[in-house]
Symmetry: C2
Subunit: 361 residues, 2 copies
DNA sequence: CCTGCAGCTGACAACGTTGTCCAGGCTCTA
DNA sequence: TAGAGCCTGGACAACGTTGTCAGCTGCAGG
């Protein structure tokens, strides 16, 4: 009968069969090497190497014998040794902020697809927005001798990468620029997107517009704030401090910030939300608010069209960011590229209703 | 001035600085080795190794000289060579279906956190639901000599992994079981969850309940279908074929399937949606439907609580799946585990409104 | 019958690191 | 002061693969 662990509710079904017994043996648990294959096939070591790599100059008969030995022993080439000898790992590293964030999934996937097209594997890690962890990860990847690095930086000083870049590690920064270092950068037009979004609200009659954003030490957050200010200034609207929330990252604090700017002495009639997480929190606040408040969010969010009203957003193309960065990485590896560039991808305003609400006061 | 590429709208800002010139040199672009460091510090090779690895038996003065040489040369240990020598790579592989799917982000992140806690890196790849690609990826990871593999299988025959497992590669399957092979498996209780969800609809008075699911060759889809059938049978309700859609994967076909079962001769009054993607599509269909239709979806989705009505779901804990699988992986590597097990994690019914609507006919 | 050539094959070194082991110099004690 | 023991440092082999090069075979041509 099944046992059920009371605390966790897990059901545990023990298998009656036994795990294939593993010879403790030497490292890799007694994995056969080319030498073993050669011995079994009665050929030389190098001949096995030739067969494994599809090099010419092997008689069909010899090749067959080698293949049989490979089958029989379950041989698989050790890429570590290969890398050591050849100097290229055919793998690239991706350092991002948080794989669980829906914005980074498609980006990561796009990088992977490009890597795959170039026959490379992707090794990735999350920095959790911690500069130290970013550095630790990036350097660990360099120690593995990845051919290149795609980095979504958490920190703002990347001089630690200088020796690596000098040593030939291709490097591209995405989503946020590199700090104190000369490198390729692929960004969304955060400033322009935010400015357009806020201008959109202004065009619909709003003047008291709130901005809820991330910590300004994060480049994207700073740029979006700058876009907000620019749009307001262009329209000749003086911004009140109470309309801006910067650096409230936890949902609770974002919620509080939104509530405050909706209820203050000069309450906002519209909110510009600085990223997908903030947008979701603000939506929750507005859902419980008595009068309608316009909203434009940076980053598209799933189901935004099904809410009432639909959520108007400034969408950036995460997949395109990843694709562009990875493309550039491999062009660096080709030697096609000479000078680092800064590439900005445009954003797109998607109207769904929430950004077109008139001011309600 | 900036050039703007007309087609793509990209803004390209050429950097005036020049990329640090890279000596073409030998592989790794002339990376210094321990030998170089030793020469510069005027010590033996092994002494450098000792310093780098923090081994005892080095005078502070010698250590300082070595450290200085390391700094000066920008030396970084080559982990490929290290791995070759030591036999452990301190990295694990994750083969999943699609990183861009919001369900797998948290799972992947959870695996990464556990790996990190064990000092291991995560190498991952997407199978794109293609069994061949899954195999290709898994074997490529084995060639890199990852210490272990966490696999979300796309295929249903994993005998190709037998030599690897025998050779000592720890292996855990998540979300779906392994095929024709004896291995650890961590699953959600797909059958029970679906049965509970459908029973929930029945308890609210529904009898004509539709099921929109994925291809039954996918284990989770088959189990959820089985749960649906079980709940209906328990309630003594005969299921009509027109109420079930299996294997419609594209949004268009799912949409059509939903429309069909809502408009047929005996139209359903409630729908059970088999996964997050299907749920979203069904929500879109129901949003345009004239009479209210109850809905329960498998997998939680973001913003589900903000829709009107809120979406009732059977939630599984993706992070817990990943965490449990990774834990087990490392316990295999410890040698703590003997026999493969099948672990099922419970699901949770979250009531938000859509599943509590009464039948409208 | 010998030479030359082409096509296969294998011996060997090298990649950069770590584990083993020994040498040399020091201190401490008898 | 001599011997024992400890501490530090270095020489060397090995990990599994690939690149280089030379040897071997068989065959065509002189």
């Amino acid at each position: 009968m099944d046992k059920t662990d009371d605390r966790t509710g897990r059901r545990i079904v023990p298998d009656t069969t036994r795990r294939a017994d593993r010879l403790p043996g030497n490292r890799y648990g007694n994995r056969p090497t080319m030498k073993d294959v050669a011995a079994r096939a009665g050929v030389g070591l190098k001949t096995v190497s030739r067969v494994v790599n599809g090099e010419p100059g092997v008689t069909p008969d010899t090749e067959r014998r080698v293949q049989e030995a490979i089958e029989a022993l379950g041989f698989r080439r050790n890429d570590s040794a290969r890398v050591l000898r050849k100097g290229r790992t055919a793998s690239i590293g991706l350092v991002l902020e948080d794989l669980a964030d829906p914005f980074y999934g498609p980006l990561s996937r796009a990088v992977e697809e490009v890597a795959r097209a170039h026959g490379a594997l992707l090794i990735n890690g999350s920095s959790a927005e911690d500069p130290e962890r970013e550095q630790e990860l990036a350097l660990a990847l360099c120690a593995r001798r990845v051919d290149g690095l795609v980095i979504i930086p958490a920190g703002d000083d990347h001089r630690y990468l200088e020796p690596e870049i000098k040593a030939g590690v291709a490097t591209v920064f995405v989503d946020r620029p590199a700090g104190r270092i000369d490198a390729d950068v692929v960004l969304s037009d955060n400033f322009g997107g935010a400015r357009d979004g806020v201008a959109h609200l202004i065009a619909h009659g709003h003047r008291r517009i709130g901005f809820v954003g991330d910590m300004p030490r994060i480049h994207t957050a700073a740029e979006r704030l700058r876009g907000y200010r620019a749009a307001m200034e262009d329209a000749g609207i003086p911004v009140e401090d109470a309309w801006m929330s910067l650096g409230a990252t936890s949902p609770e604090r974002v919620r509080q910030a939104a509530v405050d700017m909706l209820g203050g002495p000069s309450p906002v009639t519209a909110i510009f939300a600085g990223n997908n997480r903030v947008t979701v929190t603000v939506i929750r606040v507005l859902a419980g608010h008595r009068r309608p408040v316009a909203l434009v969010g940076f980053d598209d969010i799933e189901l935004a069209d099904l809410l009432d009203p639909g959520v108007t957003v400034i969408a950036q193309d995460a997949a395109a960011l990843g694709r562009t960065a990875a493309d550039r990485l491999f062009r660096q590896l080709d030697g096609t590229l000479i000078a680092p560039e800064r590439i900005e991808l445009p954003t797109r305003l998607i109207m769904r209703g929430s950004g077109e609400l008139p001011p309600a006061d």
